[in-house]
Symmetry: C2
Subunit: 161 residues, 2 copies
DNA sequence: CTATAAAAGGATAACCATGTCCTATTGACG
DNA sequence: CGTCAATAGGACATGGTTATCCTTTTATAG
């Protein structure tokens, strides 16, 4: 995996938030994690960080919750990763050779460069809106698979009788 | 960075070993780390793992040391990474959506696929022989830089007199 | 004003990666 | 056979990540 567990929670949490709310409506943590495998208390800490980083807004008290601080299509994976892990350090030599960078490259460094560039592009262009959309597609897909499985199960039972 | 510190040490250690020995000669740890920033004791543990994984052979006692278990061009980055971290789990959804793989993809999964494929190719095709070669190129390059810097320094001193 | 409901934040525990040191084992050499 | 020199392996320290729980703060509703 390319993300830490914490970053992954941040990504999934934001994707859920974007996918389940419309036009800047807020959502409580308890509702957000319902039906997911996201750990409520830990995600609370992660969301605190995202609030401080300016990706989320929060409201305390009755009727409170979290809202995206910007439109979903204006929050990139890069924004999320950097909010959690700090500046992305993909520029180091892939192989860990000392003092390798674009000014003092080694052959491995240059070989890895196109991969690194692609990854950077992916992080910079993929937004929370994309993730929410992917999440919905995925959920629809899973539903179809489940239904098919149930049909199969029913046939099995019917066949036995 | 895409590798853990431990994996990076493994990679650098093997690259040093390959670069400093010829035709299957063995080398002691103390010699291998001399002139590098590799941590001797920790690398010893890492090499133990590489021995068990079958990438290295070791010999105890007087005249002992480590040898590559196979020719350097037959040990890939993938071999090293998997020896340390276990099977590579690049196949998971980049964004951590549950149950995502090639059979149950989500849009993000497919978007990430070409990047993942490139990375896999890089890991599978880059060998310890390549790394050793890169290391030598890099060292030669550093030497030139140092020499130029010394020349500059000398001129500075001369200019002041 | 009070009760309630939400996030914020502090304390702490468990775990893993990293790092260090000491002893055990093994093999070569005299 | 005994000594020495190398890796193997055990024990332990440290620090960061992940996780959980409890208290505090803040806002709303009645």
């Amino acid at each position: 995996m390319i993300f830490t567990t914490t970053t992954e929670y941040a990504i999934r949490g934001l994707a859920e938030l974007a996918g389940r709310t419309t036009d800047g409506r807020s959502m409580m943590l308890d509702d957000l994690v319902a039906g997911t495998t996201l750990p409520r208390d830990f995600l609370a800490k992660v969301f605190q960080r995202l609030v401080k980083a300016g990706l989320l807004k929060s409201a305390k008290g009755r009727g409170g919750g979290f809202t995206l601080a910007r439109p979903a299509h204006e929050i990139t994976l890069k924004d999320i990763v950097e909010s959690i892990d700090g500046p992305i350090h993909l520029d180091r030599c892939a192989v860990g050779l000392d003092k390798c960078n674009d000014h003092q490259p080694c052959p491995q460094h240059d070989l890895y460069k196109p991969i690194r560039q692609r990854l950077k592009d992916y992080l910079a262009t993929t937004t929370v809106a994309d993730l929410a959309s992917s999440l919905k597609t995925k959920q629809a897909w899973m539903k179809i698979v489940e239904t098919r499985q149930e049909e199969k199960d029913n046939q099995m039972v019917a066949g036995r009788q």
